[in-house]
């Protein structure tokens, strides 16, 4: 019995148990850590859409107009109240938008790509105001209970509107001013009196206050400088997402338990140590995911589970070496070091090639595939660390603690000399 080694064993167990509780167990503010990992839209429902800007001679696609498009889309997304949206420029003329946890994904896409070009026209068909003259737009309910959008004009807009309303009331009967959104007539009120204060109101065409709110958001964020079309879109309903998540978790638990049992039965003591190292591996990976706020998607879960397989493999390679060394008559202690030393080149070279493939996946992949590549790559690096550093140390500690007398049988070698 080696008191120092036993103490190390106990301390390690306590640290890992504490980490496991922090990662998985509920309660306590800020815990569990696993809740910090954002779920991808395939796991909680949402929208993934790639928008293509289509230029016209009057409105060409330029880096500047794309930046404005991005800002406007970001405003619209904020207006929808989506948390943690992803809005990224892709190439020179595309915009990627990922919105997780959206309940009515298909309407959201429709709202995002609306040009939202607002025009006020007099009876002669001349433009009186455009969306550029707006300072603010807010939905409200008129005294009659009708949903309306209240507009506040800029100083220049107020002056133009003052002139237009003055002209409209100068003739009898008073003229109308028509309000168009994207070429569609919203309302055509008759002007009762001159409006000098820069206030206007859009009514008609709103079934609910929510509709008025949506238009107010669109008008506040401004008109898109170029036309957008949907190149690619994927929407996932919240039920399907929740179902996928619970199924993957169940599958993961079943698969990992099978690995644990197999390792324990086949490799005995080292198998138990490897299982323990796998728990540490899982905790480190969850920690990294939470710290980097890597969005977890279904392929990521598959990639993670596959990386558990790879992490096991590094242990298997080394344990097989270790057994050979034991069979050739070495002591447990020197067999551990010899096993690691001779197993290392195989572990290193094989993991390096898998890392190359992960890099290729990352470089050529898009979206989901990129995430999968990151998971796989991280998994390889972390598993190398746990297999080579942690498992080795744990094996030494276990072997030298002297808790078991018949070491060789315990380490899975029959009839060790």
């Amino acid at each position: 019995m080696d008191g120092k080694r036993i103490l190390q064993m106990v301390v390690t167990l306590i640290i890992v148990a504490a980490a496991a509780v922090a990662v998985f167990a509920p309660a306590a503010p800020g815990l569990p850590v696993i809740k910090d990992i954002p779920l991808g839209l395939d796991l909680q429902g949402g929208v993934h859409v790639v928008l293509q800007a289509v230029g016209t001679p009057e409105a060409p696609v330029t880096p500047d107009s794309m930046k404005r498009v991005q800002a406007i889309i970001a405003n619209r997304v904020n207006g929808l109240g989506v948390s943690e949206p992803v809005i990224q420029l892709q190439g020179s003329d595309r915009l990627l938008v990922d919105l997780a946890g959206v309940k009515n994904p298909d309407q959201v896409i429709g709202t995002l790509i609306k040009p939202a070009f607002l025009e006020f026209k007099n009876e002669a068909g001349q433009d009186v105001l455009t969306g550029a003259d707006l300072q603010d737009a807010q939905e409200s309910t008129s005294p009659g209970g009708e949903p309306v959008v209240d507009l506040t004009l800029t100083a220049a807009g107020a002056k133009k509107f003052d002139a237009a309303t003055k002209a409209a009331v100068a003739v009898t009967p008073h003229q109308t001013i028509a309000i168009y959104l994207d070429g569609k007539l919203l309302s055509k009120p008759r002007v009762d009196e001159e409006i000098p204060n820069g206030k206007a109101e859009i009514h008609g065409g709103f079934a609910t206050l929510q509709d008025a709110h949506n238009l107010a958001v669109l008008l506040r964020s401004g008109a898109l400088p170029v036309k957008l079309s949907v190149l690619e879109s994927r929407t996932v309903g919240p039920t399907l997402g929740a179902d996928s998540l619970s199924r993957s978790i169940r599958a993961g638990i079943v698969g990992v338990i099978a690995i644990f049992l197999f390792m324990l039965l086949y490799y005995r003591m080292p198998g138990l140590v490897a299982d323990f190292a796998l728990i540490i591996y899982t905790l480190i990976m969850v920690g990294i995911f939470a710290a980097l706020r890597v969005t977890l998607t279904l392929p990521d879960i598959a990639g993670f589970l596959l990386s558990v397989g790879i992490a096991v493999d590094a242990n298997v390679i080394i344990f097989e070496r270790f057994r050979e060394e034991l069979r050739s008559g070495r002591s447990v202690r020197s067999a551990i070091d010899a096993g690691f030393k001779r197993g290392f080149t195989a572990v290193f070279d094989s993991n390096a090639t898998t890392l190359i493939v992960a890099a290729v996946l990352y470089y050529f992949g898009t979206g989901e595939v990129k995430g999968f590549a990151v998971t796989l790559g991280l998994g390889i690096l972390v598993s190398l660390f746990t297999a080579v550093v942690i498992t080795r140390w744990l094996l030494h500690v276990t072997a030298e603690a002297g808790l078991v007398k018949n070491n060789k049988i315990f380490f899975g070698v029959e009839g060790g000399r």
Partner: protein, 299 residues
């Protein structure tokens, strides 16, 4: 280790061809069953408010007034109320109008998934898929040449080609639909299979240093295979546990990817033991014979 795995190599090659050839024929005859990621189009998965028939859903498509929509769409019913509708590319307005019409006719509709891939994206995807597999193969040959030798790199890449053909061929044969995750699965299989192969090559490299000069190459490689076979099988087994669990209880949306991985990992384990190292032995023997012949000609 009485049985010599290397001397029986012709049987292993034959078994590989037995699996690959039907798949390749299927691939040439009707190609892969490509999902919308590659073809472009819309796929709507919807849960209707009441049980319906495929014909009723088709009527709704017909009533949309989009030329050829009902004819060119494929409607699949997976429960009395759950439908998967594959259509040509629709605009956002058309797609929303269709969802609205379904809801009106069948007393409500829950959109579980709605995907659209434009033809532009799908073209880029095919190009990227091809490029990424090529890049992975080239980089692996370079790495193996640096760490081992060129002929081993060549043998390893042929084994990878084997795995790619097995998976792609079986998917073609059984008409399983492939999407963008299929490419990721193929690359992962490549990464996994090469991993297996390298571990065996590592053992061969080590044994070549230690074994006495007279040992036949076949016997040396055979010994290396037997020394690593427990590890090869154990590793494949652990991954099979995880993948089988994912296949049986995991989410439906990644089933095809998991199936590809499962077939690929088994094929990868097989090709590492029964193709890569035997092929390398053949290459080495050819090289040796050619050298002898050249020496004789020179003499």
């Amino acid at each position: 280790m009485g049985f010599n795995l290397i001397r029986a190599r012709r049987y292993w090659y034959a078994l590989s061809l037995l699996v690959i050839i039907p798949g390749v024929i299927a691939l040439f005859l009707h190609g892969l069953n490509l999902g919308i990621d590659f073809t472009g189009g819309n796929v709507l998965e919807a849960n209707l408010g009441q049980p319906a028939t495929v014909a009723q859903v088709r009527d709704v498509l017909d009533a949309q007034g989009i030329a050829g929509l009902a004819v060119n769409s494929q409607i699949q019913q997976s429960s009395p109320t759950y439908f998967v509708i594959r259509m040509p590319v629709l605009t956002e307005d058309q797609s929303n109008a269709l969802i609205g019409a379904l809801g009106k006719k069948f007393g409500g509709v829950t959109v579980e998934q709605n995907q659209k891939v434009g033809p532009q994206i799908s073209g880029e995807l095919i190009q990227r898929a091809f490029l990424s597999i090529l890049a992975a193969a080239v980089l692996i040959v370079i790495w193996v040449t640096i760490r081992f030798e060129f002929l081993q790199g060549l043998a390893a890449v042929i084994a990878l080609l084997h795995d790619t053909l097995v998976v792609t061929g079986l998917f073609a044969l059984f008409r399983i639909q492939v999407d963008s995750s299929f490419v990721a699965a193929l690359l992962t299989i490549i990464g996994y299979s090469i991993n297996d192969t390298i571990v065996i090559f590592d053992r061969i490299r080590e044994n070549r240093k230690n074994v006495s000069r007279g040992t036949e190459l076949e016997d040396l490689v055979n010994l290396s295979l037997w020394q690593t076979i427990a590890r090869s099988i154990n590793t494949v087994l652990t991954v099979i546990f995880v993948l089988t669990a994912l296949l049986l209880v995991g989410g439906t949306t990644i089933k095809a990817m998991v199936l590809a991985l499962l077939i690929g990992v088994i094929s990868g384990g097989y090709s590492s033991i029964f193709n890569a190292s035997p092929l390398w032995v053949d290459f080495k023997l050819w090289e040796r014979r050619r050298r002898v012949r050249r020496a004789q000609e020179a003499a």
